[in-house]
Amino acid sequence: MDLVLHIGVMICLYAILATSFNLLIGFSGLFAFGHATFYAVGAYATALLTLRLGWPFPLPLIASIVLTGAIGLAIALPSLRVSGIYLIITTLALQVIAIDVMLNWTGLTGGASGISGVPPLTILGHAFGGPARFLPIAALAAALCFAVAYHVGNSPFGRALRAMRENESAAASVGKNIFYLKVGVFGLSAALASVAGSLFAHYLSYVGADSFQVSETVLILSMVVVGGTGNLLGSVLGAAILVLLPAGLAFIDLPQGMAGQLRLLIYGLVLILFLVFRPEGLLREPKRGGKKAPHRNMPDGAPPAMGAIVPLAAREGSALSAVGLNKRFGGIVAISSLDVDLASGRITGLVGPNGAGKTTAFNLLTGFLVADGGEIRFRGKLLTRLRPHELVRAGIARSFQDLRLFTRMSVLENVLVALPRQSGDRLSALFLRPFAVRREDAANTARAMAILAFIGLGDRAMDLAEDLSYAEEKLLVVARLIATDAEVLLLDEPLSGLDGAAMQKIIDLLRQLAARNRAICIIEHNLEAIRNACDHLVYLDEGKALAEGEPGALMRDPELMRRYFK
């Protein structure tokens, strides 16, 4: 009986570890490779505080969570600089160093001998030693940790994490603070993992470096992948399977002398079989965001819902003005003394031959590149040096030539994630004001549906963005931009690659936005489209504004046209 209970305890602990790891890997796309470190810190902290300082429950647990969370914040820092394989190896490096600290900081950790004799978990005088008494505690802790992970994963914060996973710059372009997201998710994931560590210390009564080797991280990672990345229930399932698999294999009688190796061999083969038959994991990432939608699959042509586009008061003068922008890449001058003036209610076209510096100009105006010189003002306020997400919040948003949609998220979520001022983007609000966040998100969902209906994608709301046609994708880009409520909208080639009808649809949308007092700037090559869409043109060549004015007038300038078609 103890065996079954013990296996139950193990499933609970690994469920905590796998779900918390999934927040990093599956939700955020941060391929960190050192989860056992957080597990270890929780275990060591609890062992030391309980044994050496005699702290009663729940103080060691709380201290473990806080300490590990803080370490998680620190370990997030490399992820701000590197990604992909570089993040794997740096986090692996941190784990190897952590193991060396466990082994060699003998005064604190007991060195290679570890810490033995950790007393059982004692709550109000009741000791929960042994599998039978410990299992309810472990199950409760696993349920609580799962609830926290689920709450966060399905919140606006979790949505922002997945948007960051899909495309970091696009997430920043809709106002998400990448720094906060990464640091926050690392801290949270580490804190949750430490709960498993804390329980482990009490349950095993022994804490030593052998329990937290790289192979432990590999095991937890396997659980996440077998269960399905991005699906928290999958992580629980993965944990259960990979705890039960070796437990079951141990009951198969194999020839003595090689039983251990054979079991390991079978374990490896079964793992490969899982990957062969369910390469994306047993459970797929759920489609989110639709449950609260009041008008699911709203038909096209429904009257533009109220509030799809937040009306802005008509204001005189330029909304965005840049003066004397300069940018060099090494020895190449990309932009030189460029002035841009975007007024509300007007569609400005940025034209010029390939390599003229149009996209670079966008990058400078939206904070994706920092100018070497010059000023950017929004309604008179100096914005130079603000980062992209801050500029979006201030009222300047952009789209990308290569779209950068959040492809593995629903169409609805693509819009929802871009809505401004979401209190659910902050972890603190998720836990302190959960109901307010939920109400706000329901309202936001309605708003996002309204935008989709307005744009003509209402019936695709619950489809994945990757399943859209090219024209629909282009529409979704505009919808996402509208959702930011920014006054200044910079669209990088919103019309390219579209046929006449689709192009006209987007031009109409842009006109409607301009009519609602947006300052719009588009990059475009098709002269016909430019003539059709723009009120004003800026002709850019070799990083300089060669001419500026009414489209018709510019297009009649033979010198400009010669340069354009050169």
């Binding site: 065996l3 079954v4 060195g111 570890g114 095993l204 009564s205 052998d210 390991l264």
Partner: protein
Amino acid sequence: MTTNTLPLQHAVTDGAPPAPAKAPSRRSVASMLALAPAMAFAGRAYAAEPPKDPPVFRIGALLGLTDKGNWNALVMQRAIQMAVEEINAAGGVEGIKVEAAIEDHQGVPRVGVDAMQRLRARYDIQAVLLSYSAVGLAVAPIGEEHKIFMLDGGSVTDALVGPFKYLYHNRSVASVVARAVLTVPKQMGFKKMAQMAAVTDDGQSLIRAAEADWKAYGGEITATEQAMSNASNIDTQMAKLRNTNADFLAVWQFSPGPGLVMKRAREFGMKQPIIGVEYTADIGKVAGPHSEGYIFASDYFNPNASDPWPQRFAAEYRKRFNDNPEVYAANYYEGIHVICEAIKRSRAQGGDYFTGERIRAALLANPKVPSVYGGDMTFKPDGTGLKRVGIFKVTNGEAKFQNFAEIN
């Protein structure tokens, strides 16, 4: 618990019969006196009832079969199987067959706990052989709680000695072997010791024991270098050790680590004597000709002694596995025999005798058991087995017995 009054002298007279000695040593008299109340209780409680025989005596074993750092599990496993087969071929213990239930702990404490729980669930295990100290530290509390007799023949750490009543050791622990091998440089009048140790629990225990002993003697420690047990690059360690010009090099590492240390030491031109606590086939293979002159202390095993048991064991082991038995083979082979001997004694008391509690009680009542090393082994009250520790020297790849270590 320190062991500064080791009665090793009684064993120096080589060739004692393997049967339990009739005359208990002074030490065992003392411990028997100390335990008299327990014995009296034991006698009263069980004597009246007839023995309740199980269908089979199942003995568990937790070995690091798939542990990357544990090279010796294979040897332990062979020796356990061999002991079981021999005992059964001779009719079992009191006519009841013995079976070994071997589980893999992978060198991971949690996996060890899994295995221990499995042994309990499947077999209601009453006696188990442990290996690898980190696993032992995680598993022993379970054995302790459920009164399972545990015997560790692999680790030398002192961390496992003391806290667990049901945990016994039939390998001489760090404090004993380190001091034993240090008698050699002392005799040579050496003063300066350089140490190379493994970053493991056992390695650290040996450093602690050796430093205390060497400082008490008035010696100097010129350098202490360490490496992971599976490190393949120990060049900096060796260069630093060479540079200290010590009188000798002490190696507190385990198979196959000392092999590489000897090889690299000689390749770096170190001419000093090298001492250690272990010599296995793997160590010999890695060191190659550089093992020449290596001196080590180990539980004394002399297959050429006049004792019939060590001779028989060594011959049989060679025949089966085409390999010389080493300390791990001898200890785990012996472990099965120790437990069977205790079962036999416990059975004589009648009642429900095949329990961890009763096995331990039998050894408390009489802590002296025959040892495959020749003569007897006596368990001290802290559970450590007292064996004769021998000093060996390697010549032509073969370990040659020199003398028994005299440590006072």
